[in-house]
């Protein structure tokens, strides 16, 4: 379980999130929604341990993430970033396998098929569309089967078929025990498949 208690986040002097509290149960899917600039991605970054909070505590299974080492955190959570630009012409296959030596071939094949990556597995990542790159990010975040999966706007550049595939995949991961957190630019009613929807107020 992930908990955030009385969290305040800021960029310099600008407070992005003030006195925020929430809980995400193990095996649940939580969506964070809200207007542009309301702090969704900032919140996700804080929960991932990438940002130091001004005030408040974030815990994973009762342990404050501030007390966890980088290596301990890396075994607990994976994060799919919104987009990543590649300068070097690695193939999709090479990018997916980087840092994932321990991942089984079975898991690898399952994910690339599910996310429709098979067709461009041998293609250079410098030639891919935003949606294709994003699916690589999503696959990378799921390959290691970690207890917590975080996704920053996983649907942003996806077509309807991909959105359906990603949704189904995330539900399967949650059913298998993963705690899923995602930031989405969607209406609350389109997220009925999530267990919890947190709406952040725009500032």
């Amino acid at each position: 379980m992930i908990t955030a208690s009385h969290l305040t986040l800021a960029y310099g002097d600008r407070v992005v999130l003030d006195d925020f509290s929430a809980e995400c149960e193990k095996g649940s899917i939580t969506a964070i929604i809200g207007a542009n600039g309301c702090g969704k991605s900032t919140l996700l970054a804080a929960l991932a341990g990438d940002l130091h909070q001004v005030a408040g505590v974030i815990t994973i299974d009762g342990v404050s993430i501030a007390e966890l080492k980088k290596s301990q955190l890396s075994a607990l959570r994976a994060l799919a970033q919104q987009s990543h630009h590649y300068w070097m012409a690695y193939t999709t296959d090479e990018i997916l396998r980087l840092g994932h030596d321990a991942v089984s071939e079975e898991r690898f094949t399952f994910l690339i098929e599910k996310l429709g990556i098979t067709d461009y597995l041998d293609q250079s990542v410098t030639t891919l569309s935003g949606g294709q790159l994003q699916r690589i990010e999503i696959a990378r975040s799921l390959l290691r089967q970690l207890p917590i999966v975080m996704l920053d706007e996983p649907f942003a550049s996806q077509d309807l078929k991909s959105i359906a595939a990603i949704t189904e995949l995330l539900r399967e991961e949650a059913a298998a025990g993963a705690t899923v957190l995602l930031v989405a630019h969607m209406r609350r009613e389109d997220l009925s498949w999530c267990d919890q929807v947190i709406e952040l107020g725009a500032r």
């Binding site: 955190l73 300068w87 070097m88 990018i95 980087l98 840092g99």
Partner: protein, 328 residues
């Protein structure tokens, strides 16, 4: 991308070409050597022809191969470490730092050119300059801009020092600005060979881990690794390679940028093959450039930095045009 077998065949082909060209380079030069092939294939023969080929040309050919290798490996490592296809050691300030370090040591009378002392001073200078660039830049784009500024600053300080130094010292320092292999001898090789070979092997070994940097710092740190530390190790290796090259033969432009790009075009961006390929391409290009520099207009020696640009630049432009809209 090319298969492993394809890469090996290509590498073997290039290596054989370089070996043949090395023999050719031994056979030509400004001095008129009668029957050079006889002396190349029979080292036991004595006389002035033997001395010219084995005491003058041979160290120069080997030095060209080693320095080219050092520049190629340093270029591959710096582009990978900074995840930036423009990050050549002369752009990120490493070369300027090495020149300043070496010049300072010579001007202060601590050491003379071609000695281990100069290499150590150049390494310190190279490391300081690359770390200044690295510490002050917040993005891949900034890295280039800050690097150019650092380079300019270190070059200016070196220039001022040369202007203010006594004449003999300034003459010995000014050879760094264009680079020359004319001073290469067996002592140079004794220093160059172990440093370049060992550092290149370490670079090759470490480069596999550096493939991860293409994922971006955030993802690398999510995998439990420290991208800053990975970059620091890479910059130490790059500084050693560049300092060794600069302190023995001076600054040689463009090669460290061109060699990895040419290699990536041929075999792809994966770091370990890239490092090996860049070493081989760098060695080959510098040997061709140096042979051209000393034989085009004998007895005048053309500045080698100009020849590396003349050969490397068109190849690089051609490759970038052929590879389409992407950086390879």
């Amino acid at each position: 991308m090319m298969t492993v077998k394809g890469r090996r065949v290509l590498l073997l082909f290039i290596l054989i070409t370089i070996a043949l060209f090395s023999l050719f380079a031994l056979s030509i030069g400004s001095a008129d050597v009668k029957d050079p092939w006889k002396f190349i294939f029979d080292r036991s023969l004595t006389g002035p022809s033997h001395d010219i080929i084995w005491d003058i040309r041979y160290p120069r050919v080997i030095a060209a191969l080693l320095v080219g290798m050092a520049l190629g490996v340093a270029g591959a490592l710096s582009q990978s470490a900074s995840n930036n296809p423009l990050a050549d050691p002369s752009i990120i300030g490493t070369s300027a730092g090495a020149s300043l370090g070496a010049s300072l040591a010579v001007v202060l009378g601590l050491t003379s050119i071609g000695t281990l002392g100069t290499t150590i001073a150049a390494t310190i200078g190279a490391l300081v300059a690359s770390l200044v660039t690295f510490a002050l830049s917040r993005s891949v784009l900034q890295l280039v801009i800050v690097g150019i500024a650092t380079s300019a600053l270190f070059t200016a300080i070196t220039g001022l020092m040369i202007s203010m130094a006594d004449k003999p010292e300034s003459r010995s320092i000014s050879f760094w600005s264009f680079g020359s292999l004319a001073l290469a001898n067996s002592e140079t090789l004794a220093l160059l060979t172990p440093l370049v070979v060992l550092t290149s092997i370490l670079g090759w070994y470490y480069s596999q881990k550096m493939d991860l940097l293409v994922l971006g710092d955030r993802e690398v740190s999510h995998l439990g690794l420290n991208p800053g530390r990975m970059r620091l190790i890479a910059f130490i290796l790059i500084s050693l390679l560049i300092a060794t090259a600069v302190s023995t033969v001076g600054s040689i432009a463009f090669l460290a940028l061109a060699a990895p790009h040419i290699t990536r075009y041929l075999i792809g961006p994966s770091n370990r093959p890239l490092v090996i390929g860049s070493a081989v391409i760098g060695a080959g290009l510098l040997l061709i450039a140096d042979t051209a520099a000393r034989t085009i207009a004998p007895p005048i020696e053309l500045p080698i930095g100009l020849i590396t640009s003349l050969i490397g630049a068109p190849i690089l432009i051609l490759i970038l045009r052929k590879s389409g809209e992407v950086w390879r």
